[in-house]
């Protein structure tokens, strides 16, 4: 694989709340995510992790402020261009029809297709290559509706990678998975990082964040988000404050382990 030349993401003075009367989720929030780095968004439920991902994607519009991808405002980038730069791996996706896995991940090619054209042999090969890369080529003829939770998550990642994105947004990528699948997906994300893809992931899982994220944004309900280097930002004090719970961090075999509660 060729190394990616990922763009820089600049969040500039972002303000957003669900309704005018609701509490403000982001108030003049600014941050810069460097190309090819992995950023984690952590915070309690309802602190705006998914919303921030959706704002970066351009799916939600901020009240004020800007999100710039290599200095281009996200809402000015044409839809199909945006689909080539940025892909989303949702936490859950409602599937209404029993597509075969190969056909399903092939939908990731759509930003590259002209309005009236169909995926070509090259597109199909590309999709197959991604399935191989994620070691799920054996699923390609299976129905997406009949997959296990771990397989489904891998297929959603595959569809996003078929978009060949420079930026990958992941909404709680390890949630609801068993230890085997968590580790498998974490290894995949680490290898994507090595290829130079910028990863932005929301997580409830500081252990995982410590292993992968260069930068972390702490989303503290009702207070200003803080962003900084993961190793400095994630410590027992900041986590205690974030979740309102006693937190200790131990080190076992050179890996940090979080101990929750008393």
């Amino acid at each position: 694989m060729v190394e990616k030349n990922s763009p820089e993401i600049r969040i500039f003075s972002l303000t957003f709340s669900w309704n005018i009367k609701d509490k403000i989720l982001f108030n003049n929030f600014s941050a810069v995510f460097e190309p090819g780095k992995t950023v984690s968004l952590i915070g309690p439920n309802g602190s705006g992790k998914t919303t921030l991902l959706e704002l970066i994607l351009g799916w939600r519009k901020p009240f004020s402020g800007k999100i710039l991808i290599d200095n281009n405002p996200i809402d000015r980038i044409p839809a199909s261009e945006r689909g080539k730069i940025m892909a989303l791996v949702p936490q859950e996706e409602r599937l209404r029809f029993s597509y075969d896995v190969l056909n399903f991940v092939l939908l990731g090619r759509s930003p590259y297709l002209k309005p009236l054209s169909m995926p070509s042999g090259t597109d199909i090969d590309f999709a197959k290559k991604i399935l191989e890369k994620l070691e799920i080529q054996h699923l390609s003829a299976r129905k997406v509706t009949a997959l296990s939770g771990g397989e489904k998550r891998l297929v959603l990642i595959a569809r996003a990678l078929v978009q060949d994105p420079d930026i990958l947004l992941l909404d709680e990528p390890l949630n609801h998975l068993d230890p085997y699948n968590r580790e498998k997906i974490l290894q995949i994300l680490l290898s994507l990082k090595k290829e130079g893809i910028s990863l932005i992931l929301s997580s409830h899982d500081p252990d995982m964040v410590l292993r992968i994220a260069d930068t972390t944004v702490l989303l503290r309900s009702g207070r200003e988000p803080v962003s900084g280097k993961t190793e400095y930002l994630i410590n027992s004090d900041s986590l205690s404050e974030l979740y309102g719970l006693r937190v200790r961090i131990a080190e076992i075999e050179e890996r940090k382990v979080i101990i929750w509660g008393n």
Binding site: A87, L88, L107, M118, T145
Partner: protein
């Protein structure tokens, strides 16, 4: 059921061609049942009937089946609801009301009937869509169906009022017969108008058949895949409604085809609309042509086509829903 796609297509095309040929020979003149081509072409009246009645009717039947089934596939996919058919979303009842209104106000002027049917068909689905967003009961699929039932009921009671005020000697029979759903009024004159209004949207749908898949996903996912979900969805719905409403204007209400045929097609070709859409159109054409042959030739009098499609459709659907491998869809 897994059938090789090519075999499935080939079989359906073969079935269609055979059926087409048999349909030409089938009828009540010069004798009930099949007549040979030789007899048909040597009898003056039979030849005239063949060219001016039977053939345009066969073409209309094919268009009818193709458009109902294709738009059923499109609507089911883009609304993410495999139980949707044009008739459940207020399109058919809206179009029926529009046609009834046009007959009442201006008699048998085809252009007026078409325009009015298409207009009210679109109005029907728009109302259904708006109401579905406001209903506060159940999930998206249930809301859409509920809303469709309400809007359809409104239009059908509106139609009832039209029938009530219509002149029972001239206008009422016209509306009533039209409503039963029949191809008996199809001819070259109606086909001149219907043909482009049905084939054009169908051709456009055919050429975007792969992209339709995309719209079966969540709006946010469609957006993340580099498309504009609401604009594309509206465009596809609009095309389907134009096709259905224009054919409904000629033949009246034909139910079940738009629900049943897409379901069968998906079982055979898989969910991918690049394959299921053309297959559905083809199967729909075969099914309606077959039903219309029963309608016009199996009994001494003509039985309304709508009756036959609902009868066979309902039975087929019951069999389909209770057979085969269990689907893992949850909705």
């Amino acid at each position: 059921m897994t059938v090789n796609n090519k075999t499935g297509y080939l079989l359906t095309v073969l079935l269609l061609l055979t059926l087409l040929f048999l349909s030409v020979l089938w009828g009540r003149y010069p004798k009930p049942g099949f007549s040979s081509l030789h007899v048909l072409l040597n009898d003056r009246l039979a030849e005239t009937l063949l060219w001016n009645v039977r053939i345009p009717r066969i073409i209309t039947a094919l268009l009818l089946g193709a458009s109902l089934a294709a738009s059923g596939t499109v609507l089911q996919t883009v609304l993410g609801n495999p139980l949707v058919e044009p008739g459940l979303l207020g399109v058919t009842q809206g179009a029926a009301f529009g046609a009834g209104l046009a007959i009442l106000l201006s008699g048998k002027n085809y252009w007026n009937i078409y325009f009015s049917a298409i207009f009210f068909g679109l109005l029907g689905i728009t109302f259904t869509w708006i109401l579905a967003k406001r209903i506060k009961y159940g999930g998206g699929i249930l809301r859409l169906i509920l809303s469709g039932i309400i809007i359809s009921a409104l239009f059908s009671s509106g139609l009832g009022i039209l029938k009530y005020v219509a002149d029972p000697r001239s206008v009422l029979p016209e509306i009533t017969f039209w409503l039963m759903g029949s191809l008996s009024s199809a001819g070259w004159d109606t086909l001149k108008v219907t043909f482009p209004l049905v084939t054009l949207p169908l051709l456009i749908l055919f050429s975007v058949r792969w992209k339709i898949n995309l719209l079966s996903l969540d709006d946010r996912t469609v957006f993340a895949l580099g498309s504009n979900p609401s604009r594309q969805r509206m465009f596809l719905i609009f095309l389907s409604v134009i096709a259905v409403a224009s054919i409904t204007a000629v033949v009246g209400i034909i139910s079940w085809v738009g629900l049943l045929i897409p379901q069968i097609s998906r079982k055979i070709t898989g969910a991918d609309t690049a394959k299921s859409l053309p297959f559905s159109a083809l199967t729909g054409a075969v099914f309606v042509l077959f039903c219309d042959n029963i309608s016009r030739g199996a009994f001494s009098g003509e039985i309304p086509l709508g009756l036959i499609t609902s009868l066979t459709g309902a039975v087929f659907f019951a069999v389909l829903m209770s057979s085969g491998v269990k689907d893992h869809l949850k909705w």
